[in-house]
């Protein structure tokens, strides 16, 4: 479905994508990488918006640059907003379907169906300027799926969605995959991709660092430091307690918050309730940033450079 051969994209002296070689068959894939890792550049290359400086890009066996035939089979939901504020979602999706080659009537029917699929029926005749971020995100998805493409490419589709919106979008995408359609889904959040597909591509610094299943990613993350932040009534005593138990490698206290770094997150989560109960410390908030993923990328980058 996608074939990239030694693809490099340079923006002047800045490398967007660096010697990227990849072959993907039909299926659903998650493109995981931190912000600025080259995900959007890669998607722009795959959708023919950009031309590789070096190497070749083939999508469904064809070059995506100015390829009208390919664009009939491709659906793309970019990361940027880019909606017309004064028109309604229905008018906008209908317009884009007309550009897809449909008649006005067929485009209207396709727009109505896709907007219904993403739960926008009740608001589709209102101007886009009145929409919430989640509604705009759904509208973006509707324009990408309205012409029933074989291959759907999504760039950060969960961005700005509330938990209900995320759940609904997840259902839509799972149904989409269930129809046997292909999907490439870029995100910087592991669990977003994990909720949709088990096939991962890890990208950082414009390079493909690793690929595999969700289990492979989790296996790689074992042993990497995991940051956990706790807001509590006595952060110094809680930090001392955790260090005493040798569960955390380091602890940092700022105000009411103690941030610890641990290589044993499972043990920490397991024992935390007992310590809290015994010590009488009140924990108001506990937050695990997805720092482990960043640590994984850092580690993979070092391996890639031969530093590990």
């Amino acid at each position: 479905m996608i074939e990239l051969q030694n693809v490099t994209k340079l923006y002047g002296k800045v490398i967007g994508v660096n010697d990227f070689t990849l072959t993907l068959g039909p299926g659903a894939y998650g493109l995981l990488g931190p912000n600025g890792s080259g995900k959007s550049t890669l998607l722009n290359l795959i959708t023919g918006q950009l031309r590789p400086t070096l190497g070749t890009v083939r999508v469904m066996g064809e070059s995506p640059r100015n390829n009208a035939q390919l664009f009939r089979r491709l659906g793309y939901c970019p990361g940027s907003e880019g909606l017309y504020a004064s028109v309604s979602a229905f008018e906008w999706v209908q317009y884009l379907q007309q550009l897809q080659g449909m008649t006005r009537a067929a485009a209207a029917a396709a727009a109505r169906t896709s907007l219904e699929l993403v739960g926008m029926t009740s608001a589709m005749d209102r101007p886009i300027s009145t929409y919430s971020r989640g509604m705009r995100q759904r509208t973006k998805l509707a324009q990408a799926i309205a012409h029933n493409p074989d291959f759907l490419i999504l760039d950060e589709p969960f961005s700005g969605l509330d938990p209900v919106g995320r759940h609904e979008l997840t259902s839509v995408l799972l149904d989409w995959i269930g129809l046997g359609k292909s999907l490439l889904f870029a995100s910087h959040v592991l669990h977003e991709i994990e909720s949709i597909t088990q096939s991962f591509l890890l990208i950082c610094g414009g390079r493909l660092l690793a690929s595999g299943t969700a289990e492979d990613v989790h296996r790689m993350m074992v042993g990497l430091p995991n940051d956990v932040a706790l807001r509590c009534s006595d952060p110094h005593r809680l930090a001392a307690l955790m260090l005493q138990e040798h569960v955390v490698d380091s602890a940092r206290v700022v105000g009411e918050t103690v941030t610890v770094s641990t290589r044993q997150p499972a043990r920490l989560y397991d024992q935390m309730p007992a310590w809290v109960k015994a010590s009488g410390i009140e924990v108001w908030e506990m937050h695990s940033a997805d720092e482990s993923l960043q640590a994984l990328f850092n580690s993979l980058m070092k391996m890639h450079r031969g530093e590990q």
Binding site: Q49, S80, Y84, Q98, L99, Q143
Partner: protein
């Protein structure tokens, strides 16, 4: 492809039916009327008892020519067509359009058509009102000649500005203003071969040929030196060739270019 261009054309027209755009439409139609009206008022006030018009017919025709087939056509198309791509890039909507079959080309041509059809009507209405205010003899003949020039100059200027906006979307407006001032207003008056590349030159020549103006011999010699003895059909051919040539060039530039807003490329 034709359907795609038609879709963009209709969508752009529909989007133009907003109060600010309608106000701008009225400004385009009203501006020459306002200027000509001021001159008419000035002339009539200075000579309240004159039995004949104290301003020569050629002066009125010259004003109408400068204001309508030149200024209104240039300004109207420049403001609409030059940012055809840059407006989409700034709004970050360009990518949604270009992942459609021939989407970029359809946007370019659809916006071009919308601009041309949007600018011509106010120009013609302004011209009609201007002619009535001028009270020139053979008014309908002058209207017809200048209206034909509007229908020739608007597509030609739109094609030029669309091309400039495609070649350099981020600096398109600067380029368009620079082109208008340097080429159309300066080089258009230079008696050299290069002035044949300007729309202004051909319009001026047609003005002399079509409007039967009573020009003193010493001025006519200068005009002939500037215009040459090029036949009418050649001027028409030049003006008619601008749109197909420049639109083809713009499409070629578009297909070869990479337009991606920085926000879409997080590198």
């Amino acid at each position: 492809m034709i359907g795609n261009v038609g879709a963009v054309f209709l969508f752009e027209w529909k989007r133009s039916l907003t109060l600010p755009r309608m106000a701008w439409w009225l400004v385009l139609a009203g501006f020459p009327v306002f200027i000509v009206g001021l001159i008419r008022f000035g002339v009539d006030s200075a000579h309240p008892n004159a039995e004949t018009d104290r301003a020569p017919r050629e002066l009125w025709i010259g004003f109408l020519f400068a204001l309508i087939p030149m200024l209104i056509s240039m300004l109207g198309t420049m403001l609409w067509v030059t940012p055809a791509i840059s407006a989409e890039l700034e709004r970050r909507s360009w990518v949604y359009l270009t992942v459609r079959p021939n989407g970029g080309v359809a946007v370019l041509l659809g916006k071009y058509m919308a601009a041309v059809t949007w600018v011509i009507p106010p120009a013609l209405i302004g011209l009609l009102a201007g002619i009535i205010l001028c009270r020139v003899s053979n008014g309908w003949q002058i209207w017809w000649a200048l209206a034909t020039m509007v229908c020739l100059s608007t597509p030609a200027y739109a094609a030029i500005y669309l091309f400039l906006g495609t070649v350099m979307p981020r600096r398109g407006m600067v380029l368009a203003v620079g082109y208008s001032l340097l080429f159309e207003l300066v080089i258009g008056f230079v008696p050299a071969l290069i002035n044949k590349l300007t729309v202004h030159h051909h319009l001026q020549a047609l003005l002399l040929l079509w409007c039967e103006m009573d020009i003193p011999p010493e001025f006519m010699q200068g005009a002939v030196a500037l215009m040459g003895n090029t036949p009418e059909w050649e001027h028409l051919a030049f003006l008619l060739m601008y749109p197909p040539v420049l639109l083809t060039a713009a499409v070629a530039v578009l297909r070869a270019s990479e337009f991606s807003s920085s926000a879409e490329s997080d590198v």
